[in-house]
Point group: C3
Chain length 164, copies 3
Amino acid sequence: MAADPIGEQYDVEQIRALKYRYLRHLDLKQWEEFAEVFVPEATGAYAGLDFGDRDALVSYMRENMGPGLISMHHVHHPEITIGVDGDPDRARGTWYLEDKVLVPEYDFVLEGAAFYDDVYVRTADGWRVAHTGYRRTYEVSYTMSSIQNYKLKLGTAYDGRARV
Amino acid sequence: MAADPIGEQYDVEQIRALKYRYLRHLDLKQWEEFAEVFVPEATGAYAGLDFGDRDALVSYMRENMGPGLISMHHVHHPEITIGVDGDPDRARGTWYLEDKVLVPEYDFVLEGAAFYDDVYVRTADGWRVAHTGYRRTYEVSYTMSSIQNYKLKLGTAYDGRARV
Amino acid sequence: MAADPIGEQYDVEQIRALKYRYLRHLDLKQWEEFAEVFVPEATGAYAGLDFGDRDALVSYMRENMGPGLISMHHVHHPEITIGVDGDPDRARGTWYLEDKVLVPEYDFVLEGAAFYDDVYVRTADGWRVAHTGYRRTYEVSYTMSSIQNYKLKLGTAYDGRARV
């Protein structure tokens, strides 16, 4: 057991909550709140899509995951380690992602899975993301119109143009 | 950190387990056990489908999610806060749902996602659901027959009429 | 609350991490690491597919879940109880599975859900799986070619023959 199991468990819970906020703000297109989960120098590496700092990462998401795209990002199986290379204020986290992206205008659906490897850093305001990235096991894509009777409805939690 | 981090962590774990029981009993159609996760005055609000008390909610589920319907409700990303408006015996919880519903008789499949906002209350018998509800980001539906070679098998965990 | 809530919470977290390693190594086809999550006498019972010890279970997975098959196993809703029949070094765990299997050579996709009932045992090297098994609620299968424009890409996390 850790020297301070209560403190460590608390840190692990805080990091999990950080990741959940990150994905909640992403899927709800709340870009200001999304930006706040990262430190300014945070880097990203999503299966070949790389970002050198927070501004680049957030700008890309804001531009490419706008109202015309519906996304679902669910992360599972957290394996969080507090302390990296002897630094107690850094942590690593592995997660197992399932994601789904729908783009009605392009008749496009994507479904996939990936493993995240993240680095988190403790700041005066709590834990923040210092690096995030994933490597895919697989992704599948198809056209909505290839499934007869395929119907998509947007809900009230969907940002901006909710219908049902 | 909370004044009593051990007690708070314990409460959070109890509330998570309550939610897992709720969805396990729902998907296994165990209505008596399902009813026990709620206080009698519990309310529900599922994307426009509202219930004023436990009896109304449980009766609806029992009638509409019977043997002809197969459901999968998975909740992720728990963000639980113990204490609401200064009351330490109430808690709030946000979850991110992925659900799937299959109704062979109507050649119907539904897949969707939503955010739950729940209220829990501490009782002499442990935490119970005082309010549950979700708002959808999206839902997709299609007919099983629109996918050639689509085959559905029921398993032994499925209540009532299991086949494989 | 448990007599030793800190120790119990620590055990629960260790068992969750064990289950996540089990499924990570399974989906990444890392068979030596996969074997290490079990005690030698571990048994398995997957919806009618039974194994009498670790060697039988691991050999089967190695042979049947090789490079031609892509799998995703996500477990949710852990309900872990430390102590079984008065033995504090055994634990039980229920999980709710969502899985997906793709076999391009056979034009085959499977998607399903199940409830796991596991038994874990505390060893000198930490918690290990003593029994694992699940019962399905349902499973669906279809052919990839029945969905027009269905495209599968393998990622760099996929073991052996990654493409994208």
